[in-house]
Subunit: 330 residues, 2 copies
């Protein structure tokens, strides 16, 4: 079940020429504000606007034509949705995506435009897994899980390979990598790749306050659950409990954990817009928020911060920009 470095390297070969090889950006303004040496891994610039395309494409392209014959099925608030829809379209399969009705409009429209058949459900009163199971029973489609899947984790892990390669190529001795975290598929893939590559960096999962199941699970040494299913602006980071595969990896490799408030997330989004000139969605900005809020002390350190997604509705960005600049520099 657990992916290996070989799986991640195989994923990198599958994604070569299909996914965008995103670069590590640096920003003198960000270094000045944090008094650290920061590199930004901008998965906002990835196909479909988030890292999710990597895992989705790796998983869908691993299917035999026979397996994919009846299409693929996914549950997602929008980034995995777009990743799976795009991957299925590229590979010539049908996709059915179960999405909450309150998902950001941009994500629903994007999924549709990428060729996904969308089933909307009521987050408060319906069980998305049951809906997906029904679809699969009826159609014979294959479920592509958003995080608890060996091939999905291996695909996300290619981000770790790229970070490791770029740090080595530029002589950047990375000490920590901060990764937005929901079910942990992304952070565990990155952790696995960077550990296997011997970077010596510690991986930190970053979660919204109140949805810190992953951090509490790491502290307890066993999976914990969030008390609520909604209530943060970070729509992409609301998985109720860590995925079993990702938790085994992150627990074994000693991942750290950080939480940030919605207010800190909005300030990070505004900083990204005003100063970095990057569009980042709430869930994609939590690692940057941990850095800018000082919850992660980067002073004098070499840190990679992952911006994991940029699929944000204009109204949410306006909420972030409505506050006056926080004086975090230009």
């Amino acid at each position: 079940m657990t992916p290996t470095l070989d799986d991640i390297e195989a994923a990198a070969r599958r994604l070569d020429g299909i996914a965008v090889r995103t670069t590590l950006l640096s920003s003198p303004a960000l270094d000045a504000v944090t008094d650290g040496h920061i590199r930004l891994k901008c998965e906002t610039l990835q196909r479909t606007g988030s890292f999710k395309f990597r895992g989705a494409y790796n998983a869908v392209s691993s299917l035999t034509p026979e397996q994919g014959r009846n299409g693929v099925v996914a549950t997602s608030s929008g980034n995995h949705a777009q990743g799976v829809a795009a991957a299925a379209s590229i590979l010539g399969y049908r996709s059915t995506i179960v999405m909450p009705a309150d998902a950001p409009k941009l994500k629903i429209e994007g999924t549709r435009r990428l060729g996904g058949d969308i089933i909307l459900y009521d987050r408060a009163n319906e069980d998305r897994d049951a809906i997906a199971a029904n679809i699969i029973a009826r159609t014979g489609g294959v479920l592509i899980h958003p995080f608890n899947d060996r091939n999905v984790i291996a695909g996300q892990g290619t981000v770790g390979l790229e970070i490791s390669a770029d740090c080595e190529a530029t002589g950047f001795s990375v000490e920590a990598v901060l990764v937005p975290c929901s079910g942990g598929g992304f952070s565990s893939g990155v952790n696995l790749a960077m550990t296997a590559r011997g970077t010596g960096a510690r991986t930190y999962v970053v979660e919204p306050a109140g949805f810190d199941d992953y951090g509490r699970s790491l502290a307890a040494g066993s999976p914990q659950r969030n008390p609520a299913l909604s209530g943060s602006i970070c729509d992409a980071l609301l998985a109720p409990t860590p995925g079993a595969i990702s938790f085994e990896i992150n627990n074994r490799l000693g991942a750290g954990a950080l939480t940030v408030t919605d207010r800190e997330v909005l300030e990070a989004m505004a900083f990204a817009f005003r100063t970095l000139k990057l569009v980042v969605e709430p869930g994609g900005a939590v690692a940057l928020a941990a850095l800018l809020s000082g919850r992660f002390d980067a002073r004098g350190r070499n840190v990679v911060v992952v911006l994991s997604g940029g699929n944000v509705d204009p109204a949410m960005m306006m909420t972030a920009l409505a506050s006056p600049p926080s004086g975090l520099g230009v």
Copy 2:
């Protein structure tokens, strides 16, 4: 007066480790929409949010301590302003910047935060050059012209060196490069560098409709003027006539010219936000607008598009995002 490749290479050495070496991004969505092979040179990610830092730093760092003793002076609606203020601060000089009172707030605040002393003037009733001349007469400061300056053009030309190097490294045989244009310092520097490097690419200047003095000048073979001094959302691209040095270069090297409407610029800004996840200001988006509007036909061609700046007020971005998505893809 006219810079040479040697000047541009010297500028690159001065800027090494000071300016951000911005990368060439690719976007499968953009390639799909244009049916071309597009690379984006994102000077939005440059220090101070625009390419202007390059020329400003190269010019200011070329001063002897004696020359810089009384500070530097610049006139600018905001990007050259921030570039000069940042360069002067880094090098330990004072800077005085003459800016129109209706400049974007983000640019005025940014210039102040970067250490510039700001003199606001009324675009309709005051002459900024006279104000700057007065300051220089009083203080003994040195004028850093926004475009008609050998060192400024050489600094901007480093963008052309980077494009050439990255295209060569990735086997991208670039046929055309589209550059936003006001006084022509940027486009002429890029043209000079890419021609000297033997890329074989043609440089196109891109201007807002009604402010196409540069294109008309190239067509006439002699400098023409704009009828108006204001009236486009592209606040950065309102220079009344081509700079003498830049015009000699672009005319000699056979630059092409394109114009775009404000409506096309807003659509390009919205596409950049929604699909590319990049924040681009109006003047910075004209080359992308020429591409997306079809005014430049990229079908089957290898094209580099320069995003020259990202210093946009939230309200202007909201104007761009207020229209429904134009169906330009995800």
